[in-house]
């Protein structure tokens, strides 16, 4: 029990706010693989994802004092920071390239974000993939395009050649279904 309390993410963040490097190391061990996986998926570039991971955890070290449980779980916090940074970077690359080729192109072989079951996946992965598998393909698609590709609702509508209203409805329906299947905390503490 003592060890569980020692590795409690909220406790770790408070310790990090007090400049505890050991707590930072433990927090990193626990959440860096998930944050890195997400960064690689969004950016499709391992080197860029490494830079992003470093920036994200450095931000965590500097801003841990700003964290409060009212802002969500530590996992949601670090994942939200990672995703926001990754999407910002992705959008700036797209603006620079003045092209949507990167989003139109086929997903990377190794980092394919499509949901699927796997015999080797962790319990959490199986749970989340099972939930996603219960969504309609069209719902899953809008979720992926928004969450992993960083597309706005009108960009998704343009890409899928669907009316904006339809895209909005699908996004809402997808999230509502997921909330029902996973609950707010599902997958969060499983590892």
């Amino acid at each position: 029990m003592a060890d569980e309390s020692r590795d409690d993410p909220v406790r770790l963040i408070h310790q990090i706010a007090n400049r505890n490097r050991e707590a930072f190391a433990r927090f990193y061990d626990r959440f860096a693989p998930l944050a890195f996986t997400l960064a690689v998926r969004i950016l499709r570039d391992r080197a860029a994802a490494e830079d992003l991971l470093q920036e994200t955890f450095f931000q965590l070290w500097n801003q841990a004092a700003n964290y409060s449980q009212e802002r969500g779980s530590p996992e949601a916090w670090i994942i939200t920071i990672t995703r926001s940074r990754a999407i910002d970077k992705l959008r700036s690359i797209r603006r620079r390239d003045k092209s949507f080729i990167s989003m139109e192109g086929p997903p990377g072989k190794q980092y394919d974000g499509k949901v699927e079951g796997s015999a080797t996946a962790s319990d959490a992965r199986i749970i989340v993939n099972s939930a996603l598998a219960q969504l309609a393909e069209s719902q899953r698609k809008v979720l992926e395009l928004a969450y992993f590709e960083g597309l706005t609702q009108s960009e998704i509508a343009a890409k899928l050649k669907e009316p904006l209203g339809t895209v909005k409805t699908r996004m809402r329906a997808a999230l509502e279904r997921l909330r029902g299947l996973l609950g707010a905390k599902a997958g969060g503490e499983a590892s």
Partner: protein, 253 residues
Amino acid sequence: MNHDEWLERADIYALGALEGEELARFEAHLASGCAQCKEYLLETHETLTSLPRSLAPIEPPSAMKAKLLRQIGAVAKAPVLDRRRVRWLWWGMGVGAVAAASLLLVLSWNLIATRNQLRDLQAQVATLQTQVSQREELIQFLSDPQVRLVNLAGLPPSPAARGQLLWNSLSRTGLLLVTGLPQVPADKAYELWGIAGAEPVPAGVFRVNERGQVLFRLPALPEAKIFDKFAVTLEPASGVPKPTGTMFLLGSL
């Protein structure tokens, strides 16, 4: 607007897909302090946090953790002060100022002594750097298979003197190490000669240090000459085109 419509936007907002005027209006609504939307958004973020777990996990590079710990280690050295600590700090600074004034005199004295020591150490470092660079030059020279060693023996004016010439016949350059030569007056210097048959060719002027030693780098010598001997004579400080003085060292290739 019906509040359910705000919640509909909250979903799209949580996905980061809201844009333009809709985004601005929703953010204004949030800023107005809508607790229901805030709570709803928190729950939605928690649900979305599950999505990365659907991916095949990729481990970050093993060096990343150490890199970050080094990075935050550098930052951690700057302490964060709270108010209570700051108040005590002022007291401490008052007492410390008196002590510091007393210490200042002692430290000033020590500083002068330290500066002298530093100057001595800098001189030692300079000497060592010279020695190291000379050794590096030697090693580099010796690693060339074209290099031949010519031993130069001391002649009657200074029989204990010795010279080793590392001669590269291809690049026409060489390094001469000399020990045991007497120091000479300011208007004199030693001159090295490459001897091709009976013709001596000037190969540079040098002086020795107080221990009679020198490591001398030869200038590039004429390619047409095939040297079979090398010699050192004592000559005027500016050097001469043909030897005029006493020979101190002589060796054959």
